[in-house]
C-alpha cells in the first residue's frame, strides 16, 4: 500500500529563487513524517532537477495562460490538489519565496480553510500538526507557532533550515489539465526608461546603500563597486524612501530577500527591519562612520570611516 501524501510543493513559476529547495524540503519533511511528497508545477514552468529533489510524483498543470496571475494560479493549484491528494487535513503545502507565491499562499489558505503559517525559517511536521518558526516584530523576534489542523500553508524562506537529505527514487510524472479560466487582466506593463537592474534575489554579491549615502547621485559609486566585483546594488528602506534608489531595489522585511556570498553594507545602520531581508548565512562587510551603529553587531569585517574616503580607493583596488 502506498504511503500517504504528507507534503506538497507548489511551484507557480520559474521566477522564485528557491523552487528546488522548496521541493527538497517538502520531500525531506514528508520522509520524516513517514509519507510521500508531491510537487505540483504550473505547466509553463520548466524547473530542471525537480526529479532529483525527492518527490514521488510531479504533477504538471496544463491549460493555464502563460501570464497567469496569482488568483488564476491559485485556482489551478486548488483543482490539482483536490484531484491528486485525497486527504489534505494533515498535509503541508509549501511554496517558494516571492510576491506571487505570497498571494497564492493567502488565497489557498482561504479557499482550502487551511492554517496560514507564513514565511517560515523552520518547519516540522509533528504528530499533532505542524510547528514553524518565522520572524515577527519587524525581524526583531522569532515566533514559534503551532497549528493542529491542516492543510498547513507555508512559504519557504530561502534561509529555511534544511532538513535531512530526502531519499530519491523513481519519480512518477503526470499532467493535470485545469478547467478553462477567464484571463481578463487590466494590468499593463510599462518598461522603465532608466538603466536595467539585474535581479537582486539571485545575486552572489550585493552592494547596498542606506541613509548614510546622503543623496541619489552617490549610488553611482556603489554601482561602480558592484560592477567591479560582479555584484548588484540594493538599498535600505530609508534610501528608497528618500527616492535615492528604486523601491524595487529595497532589501528588508517588506522588500527583497537576498542570500549572497558577499553583502557589502554602506551607510546602513543595521536595523532589524533591514537585516530581515538578508539570509543569516550571508557574510556582511560594512562601511560606516558611526561607531555606535548596530551594523557592527552583525558584520564580519568593518571599516569605521566615511564612505567618501573609502569608496574611491576601493573601486580602484577592485579594478586593479
Amino acid at each position: 500500500m502506498s504511503q500517504a501524501i504528507k507534503a506538497v510543493a507548489l511551484i507557480p513559476s520559474v521566477a522564485a529563487t528557491n523552487s528546488l529547495q522548496t521541493v527538497r524540503t517538502a520531500a525531506s519533511l514528508a520522509d520524516a513524517a513517514g509519507g510521500q511528497a508531491l510537487a505540483i508545477v504550473a505547466g509553463i514552468s520548466s524547473v530542471d532537477g525537480l526529479d532529483q529533489c525527492g518527490p514521488s510524483r510531479i504533477v504538471r498543470m496544463e491549460g493555464l495562460p502563460a501570464d497567469a496571475d496569482g488568483p488564476v494560479l491559485a485556482s489551478g493549484f486548488v483543482e490539482a490538489l483536490k484531484a491528486s491528494v485525497p486527504e489534505l487535513a494533515g498535509c503541508l503545502l509549501l511554496l517558494p519565496y516571492g510576491p506571487v507565491e505570497e498571494e497564492i499562499a493567502g488565497l489557498l489558505a482561504v479557499e482550502l480553510g487551511g492554517a496560514a503559517l507564513g514565511k517560515c525559517s523552520s518547519i516540522n511536521l509533528v504528530a499533532d500538526g505542524c510547528q514553524v518558526e518565522r520572524p515577527v516584530y519587524g525581524g526583531r523576534a522569532t515566533a514559534r507557532l503551532h497549528a493542529s489542523q491542516g492543510p498547513f500553508v507555508c512559504i519557504a524562506r530561502p534561509d529555511l533550515k534544511p532538513g535531512s537529505e530526502p531519499a530519491t527514487g523513481s519519480t512518477f510524472e503526470e499532467t493535470f489539465t485545469v478547467s478553462p479560466v477567464s484571463t481578463k487582466s487590466d494590468l499593463q506593463k510599462i518598461p522603465f526608461d532608466g538603466p536595467r537592474h539585474p535581479p537582486l534575489e539571485k545575486a552572489k554579491v550585493v552592494v547596498a546603500g542606506g541613509r548614510g549615502m546622503g543623496a541619489a547621485e552617490n549610488f553611482a559609486q556603489l554601482e561602480a563597486v558592484a560592477a567591479a566585483i560582479g555584484g548588484v546594488v540594493g538599498c535600505s528602506l530609508p534610501a528608497a524612501d528618500a527616492g535615492w534608489y528604486p523601491v524595487s531595489r529595497q532589501i528588508g522585511q517588506s522588500g527583497k530577500f537576498v542570500c549572497p556570498d558577499v553583502y557589502v553594507a554602506v551607510g546602513i545602520s543595521g536595523m532589524s527591519q533591514h537585516m530581515a531581508g538578508i539570509a543569516e548565512g550571508s557574510p556582511i562587510f560594512a562601511i560606516n562612520n558611526d561607531p555606535d551603529s548596530s551594523i557592527w553587531d552583525v558584520a564580519e569585517i568593518g571599516i569605521l570611516d566615511d564612505w567618501r574616503n573609502i569608496l574611491p580607493p576601493l573601486i580602484e583596488a577592485l579594478n586593479a
Binding site: S121, L145, H146, S248, M271, M275, P313
Partner: protein
C-alpha cells in the same frame, strides 16, 4: 468616486529593541506598555487616500484603526488628519497569530461600513505579527481585486489607477473593480502634518473601542513562544575592524571581498 477605507495597525516603535521588553502572556512579548507608532507603510496608505480625496472632494476617507489601548495615540493622530470617519477596532494580541482569523476580522470591519469603499488601502503587513498574508486573504474574503505594493494610487476618467515597481518595468492597474491594495513607501508620498488645533481637538474627542468581530472563530494557529532574534546572527560577535589609512583599509577590504566572492 472613490470612497476609501484605510486599515491602520500601529506597530511597536522600530527604534525599540525587543530585548527591552519583558515576556508577556501566552509566550508573547509584553508590548502593551511599549510605544506604538504608525508604520511608514500605513503613513503612505493614509497620505495616498487623503490625496485622492483632495483631488475629488466628493470622496471620503475612513480609517479603520486596529489595536488595543496601545493604538490610542496613533488613532488620535489619524483623527487629527481630518479623515472623514474613523473606527477603533479592538484587537486581541493572541488572535493575531492566525492570519486567517485576522483577515476575517479585517474583512468584517470593511463589510460593516455603511458605504462600501471602492478602494481599501493598507500596509503590506497587518501590524507586528503578520508577515504579509493578511492582505491577500482579506482581499479574497471581500471578493476584491488584490494589488500589492502600490507606490502610486490615482484616478483617471473615473477609474482607479495603481502602479507598482518591478525590476525593469512598472505594472499599472486601471480598473473600475473594487480593489484592496497594499502600498509601498515612496519619496513623493509623505504623510502630511496635522494642524496643532486638529491635534488638540482629536485629543479631546471621546473614543471607544468596537469589538473586532461578531463572529467567533477559534484561531487555527497558536503561539508557542516568541524570543528576540538577530536574524540568526550572534549580537556582539566580533567584527574585525580594518585599520590604517583610507587606502590601506580599502585595499584590505577589496582583497577580502574579492576572495569571498570568488569562493
Amino acid at each position: 468616486m472613490p470612497h476609501i477605507a484605510v486599515i491602520v495597525v500601529p506597530v511597536v516603535d522600530p527604534l525599540l529593541g525587543v530585548r527591552q521588553l519583558a515576556a508577556g502572556a501566552d509566550g508573547d512579548l509584553d508590548v502593551d506598555g511599549a510605544k506604538h507608532v504608525l508604520s511608514p507603510y500605513d503613513e503612505a496608505a493614509l497620505e495616498n487616500a487623503l490625496r485622492l480625496r483632495d483631488k475629488s472632494p466628493e470622496s471620503t476617507v475612513t480609517a479603520l484603526v486596529f489595536g488595543s489601548a496601545v493604538a490610542n495615540e496613533a488613532l488620535r493622530y489619524v483623527m487629527a488628519l481630518k479623515v472623514d470617519a474613523w473606527r477603533w477596532i479592538g484587537l486581541d494580541n493572541a488572535a493575531q497569530w492566525d492570519p486567517h482569523a485576522v483577515a476575517r476580522m479585517a474583512a468584517d470591519a470593511v463589510e460593516r461600513l455603511e458605504q462600501q469603499p471602492s478602494l481599501v488601502l493598507m500596509g503590506p503587513e497587518f501590524g507586528d505579527r503578520d508577515d504579509g498574508l493578511v492582505a491577500p486573504m482579506t482581499a479574497r474574503l471581500l471578493g476584491r481585486t488584490y494589488f500589492p505594493m502600490a507606490f502610486a494610487v490615482g484616478q483617471e476618467d473615473g477609474q482607479l489607477v495603481l502602479s507598482r515597481a518591478a525590476d525593469d518595468y512598472e505594472e499599472r492597474l486601471v480598473t473600475t473593480d473594487a480593489v484592496l491594495a497594499t502600498v509601498s513607501t515612496h519619496h513623493s508620498v509623505r504623510l502630511r502634518l496635522p494642524l496643532i488645533k486638529q491635534i488638540m481637538m482629536a485629543n479631546r474627542q471621546p473614543v471607544t473601542h468596537e469589538a473586532a468581530s461578531t463572529e467567533t472563530v477559534p484561531a487555527a494557529v497558536r503561539l508557542t513562544e516568541v524570543e528576540p532574534s538577530n536574524a540568526g546572527r550572534v549580537r556582539g560577535a566580533s567584527c574585525r575592524m580594518l585599520e590604517g589609512s583610507a587606502s590601506e583599509k580599502a585595499a584590505a577590504f577589496a582583497a577580502i571581498i574579492k576572495e569571498k566572492a570568488s569562493t
